[in-house]
């Protein structure tokens, strides 16, 4: 039985340090010694891995067509075949590889695990250090379009005083980060590692941003409340009050006395929990069942693509991007088909489908329930997210809410779909913490 020969080290060129660039400050050249070392990282996927991927896609054994005319049974055969045809032919991984390699990438060992991260320092000295965490089925690919707007605001019509230094890690078991070999790497341990990372990079004050699973990491960081953490921003707030959560779990109709936006949120959550969480239940209980996602590129892509309900949130923008048209009124925004395949291909090339699923197994709190955060918190509500958090619930869940805004456009993959709006949100959200 041939073992998976694509160990992470074989796909990495751990070559000589990158030449110092203006984006990498002096702190980097004083990288710590020994196990705290911060090692430059460069992606170099062997051509053979890309050939293998294409070969497998072309050899896909397909199921029969769904007997329905929509996505009510899952991603439609025609959609997957269309995507597969492009993926196996004209799609070019080397483009995103080059984009990533043009950024300062590093790995460092924290708590026994290699953590991969992008680290971009702004030219503006008073920039606010910010760690931005992706979710599932996302990755650092989601954040690529916000790097320059945040680190280099004046080139995007914004003020130098709103600049950020950016740290963009991959979650344990995702992307080029290591895969934990023991249990325990959930949101809390990750949050701890993120604080260690920021301190190792020399930051004595910083903020944290996250959506999806990244929001869970932010909540955990906020609960740990290290003195260096000034505050958090999330586009995926956990706000459901306890009594409302109980009513939802019991399948009750909306409790009486809810405000209009609370009732709307309740109805959205009812649909979400009854129809759109199957994948999360599966990943949260039996991640090691998903062998098909490591062995079949189309199997992987379909699972990542679906994310609960193709036409509905939160996968709506991905469907629109792949099909090249707004599906059910959900615009893809800036998200393109290539972006989506960049993300899926990253999961494939790093063999992280199953290790990524384990994060759900390790997640022991609901990302939707009231986060109960006491440090400064900022929330942006995007209209295409799975539910629109009411202000009333948000204020109770985030006791020091310093910013709350309804954004005009964008969905679950806010940074990916609406990088301009997203960047503007972060500038506004964190202004008061600088």
């Amino acid at each position: 039985m041939p073992a998976n020969s694509q160990t992470r080290r074989q796909v990495l060129a751990t070559g000589a340090a990158l030449a110092a660039s203006s984006l990498v400050g002096e702190q980097m050249s004083r990288a710590a010694e020994g196990s705290n070392a911060i090692r430059p990282f460069h992606i170099d996927i062997p051509a053979e891995a890309l050939v293998d991927l294409r070969r497998r896609i072309s050899a896909t054994r397909w199921p029969a067509r769904e007997p329905v005319t929509d996505e009510s049974q899952g991603v439609q055969l025609a959609t997957m075949q269309q995507l597969a045809r492009y993926w196996a032919t004209d799609y070019d991984w080397r483009k995103v590889e080059a984009r990533l390699n043009a950024l300062p990438q590093f790995t460092t060992e924290i708590d026994g695990l290699d953590i991969h991260f992008i680290h971009v320092r702004s030219n503006h000295d008073n920039a606010l250090p910010l760690i931005v965490t992706h979710g599932w089925p996302g990755s650092i690919v989601e954040q690529l379009k916000i790097i320059d707007p945040l680190a280099n605001p004046t080139a995007h019509g914004a003020s130098a005083s709103d600049a950020f230094h950016l740290v963009i890690p991959s979650l344990p078991g995702y992307g080029f980060s290591g895969k934990p070999t023991t249990t325990g790497w959930g949101a809390e341990r990750t949050a701890n590692a993120w604080v260690v990372l920021m301190k190792r990079l020399g930051y004595t004050r910083f903020a944290s941003q996250g959506g999806d699973l990244g929001a869970g990491v932010c909540t955990a960081m906020a609960k740990q409340a290290p003195p260096e953490l000034l505050g958090i921003h999330t586009n995926f707030p956990g706000t459901i009050p306890t009594d409302v959560a109980r009513a939802l779990a019991a399948g009750d109709p909306p409790p009486p006395g809810l405000l209009a936006d609370e009732k709307h949120a309740y109805e959205q959550l009812q649909v979400l929990f009854s129809k759109r969480r199957a994948y999360a239940q599966m990943m949260g209980t039996r991640p090691q069942t998903l062998y098909g996602l490591e062995d079949s590129p189309v199997g992987l892509a379909a699972w990542l693509f679906d994310h609960g309900d193709g036409y509905g949130q939160p996968a709506a923008s991905i469907t629109s991007a792949v099909l090249g048209r707004a599906v059910n009124g959900h615009s893809a925004g800036d998200l393109t088909r290539d972006d989506v395949l960049d993300d899926f291909t990253l999961y494939w090339l790093t063999s992280t489908a199953v290790s990524a699923a384990r994060f759900y197994w390790e997640l022991h709190f609901s990302l939707y329930n009231a986060a109960d955060v006491s440090i400064p918190a900022a929330v942006s509500v995007f209209p295409g997210e799975n539910y629109q958090a009411p202000r009333s619930w948000t204020e109770r869940a985030y006791k020091k809410l310093i910013y709350f805004n309804h954004v005009a456009e964008g969905g679950h993959y806010a940074a990916w779909e609406q990088p301009k709006l997203f960047s503007a949100e972060l500038r506004a959200a964190f202004r008061s913490l600088r």
Partner: protein
């Protein structure tokens, strides 16, 4: 080479995953005359004349092209594996080392042709019912007055589960039973499973399958018969009873819908009802633990997104095997460590290979979607058990996913003629304990003959 040619723009060829152009009929021997001439007339009884030409019963033989088997082996050999689970047990799913070992055997010494030969030694047929070709095994007993029984498998099972009970049921005297307890057995494959065709439209829920089964027994000329089922076979057999199919005398089920309303409410998060007996409380706790342990995540996933689940299970043999083995019915399976214990490694691989060769992983999942709104198969009200007045017989196998107490069974079925909890066996009862299972059917149906 398959890949860009959608395999599913037509009814796909059975067992021919890699050659979409091959017509399904090329797989089937329609040489009925040749078979009859071979002198096996007792195996291929004359059926009543069909009511309509489309109702004809056609002999069937499974012939899988060698390149389909070679393709399977090639894919197994090229399996790309995830890293090892981080838990020390199977709580995260099928363990890597166990699955790799199984796949090594599957791609090497395992021989599908043995299973194929076993099937082809049995009388197999195909008949079109309600627009779908239904495959079934039909073995008549040599004993007079044998009671016909239609036995329905579930997921992730198949007719492979039932092979070891055919002789005990049709030939009881060779198994310590009496001639008076003989059965004729009819073993169909569900639509979208095994060699049955895949429905191209929606609506094939347990109620519709039950009506098709009643039609099947009618076509076979049976005007008195019984029905048996576990897993999906239970709701389907129960639907037949509810529909009071003509000729149906009663049913036997081994995963009966018996959870009473107040307990169903507790399982959904409500309070545990007072006044439960010790036995009842133990069952409630077991169900709650089972839910918390994630035993039903696969059920939820297949109900919601069968097509999504299907891609990985259709393109990857490891993906298919892992999905099949996630069923809690396999929780105690030792991967064939004990060659005396049924199902053996070969048995389970016969079953998985049948799903693979017939490309039915996805179509099989659709049954969950069809069931969707009805919800749990073990809740009495959801399965409308109050509407059943025909006799119902139940055997509880102790290692099944749910062990109903007799009190609940009596509340659910007003005409419960038999209730027996045996001392061994689990979810795949017929597969695991063929002799005991057959003895149970003899005892259960004796009073209906």
């Amino acid at each position: 080479m398959l890949g860009t040619d959608p395999l599913a723009t037509r009814q796909p060829a059975r067992g021919v995953a890699s050659e979409p152009q091959l017509d399904r009929r090329q797989l089937l021997s329609t040489a009925a005359m040749g078979i009859a001439a071979a002198g096996a007339a007792s195996l291929f009884p004359a059926y009543p004349a069909p009511a309509a030409p489309g109702d004809a019963i056609r002999p069937f033989r499974a012939i899988v092209p060698q390149d389909a088997i070679d393709d399977l082996r090639r894919r197994i050999a090229m399996t790309r594996w995830p890293d090892k689970e981080t838990a020390a047990d199977q709580s995260q799913g099928v363990q890597l080392a166990k699955l790799q070992e199984l796949l090594q055997y599957w791609g090497g010494a395992y021989d599908w042709r043995k299973a194929e030969a076993k099937l082809n030694a049995l009388p197999q047929f195909m008949t079109n019912i309600d627009g779908v070709d239904i495959h079934f095994i039909h073995v008549r007993s040599r004993h007079p007055n044998a009671l016909p029984v239609i036995i329905t498998h579930g997921w992730p099972g198949s007719i492979i589960e039932q092979l070891k009970i055919i002789d005990p049921l049709t030939n009881p005297t060779a198994h310590g039973g009496q001639a008076e307890d003989a059965f004729d057995v009819v073993i169909p494959s569900l639509p979208g499973y095994g060699f049955s065709a895949r429905p191209t439209g929606t609506g094939w829920d347990p109620d519709r399958i039950a009506r098709a089964w009643a039609e099947l027994m009618k076509r076979l000329g049976y005007n008195r018969y019984v029905a048996q089922g576990g897993d999906w076979g239970t709701p389907i057999s129960s639907a037949m009873a509810r529909q009071a199919a003509t000729g149906l005398l009663g049913i036997h089920i081994n995963l009966p819908a018996t959870v009473p309303p107040e307990v169903a409410a507790a399982l959904a998060g409500g309070p545990v009802p007072p006044g439960l007996s010790e036995k009842e409380r133990a069952v409630v706790e077991a169900l709650m633990i089972s839910g918390k342990n994630g035993n039903l995540a696969y059920f939820t996933m297949m109900t919601a997104r069968p097509q999504t689940v299907g891609y990985g299970a259709t393109d990857s043999p490891a993906g298919l095997a892992a999905w099949v083995l996630v069923h809690p019915g396999f929780a105690h399976w030792t991967y064939g460590a004990d060659p005396e214990k049924s199902p053996t490694k070969d048995d389970v691989l016969d079953n998985i290979t049948l799903y693979w060769l017939t490309n039915t992983a996805t179509s099989a999942a659709r049954l969950y979607w069809e069931n969707g709104a009805r919800g749990s198969v073990i809740v009495a009200a959801a399965q409308r058990t109050a509407e059943i007045s025909l006799p119902v017989a139940i055997t509880v196998f102790p290692e099944d996913v749910y062990r109903p107490p007799e009190t609940w069974a009596r509340r659910a079925y007003r005409n419960l003629i038999y209730f027996h909890e045996v001392d061994r066996g689990g979810h795949f009862a017929a597969w695991e304990q063929p002799e005991l299972f057959s003895a149970e059917l003899r005892a259960a149906f004796r009073s209906l003959r």
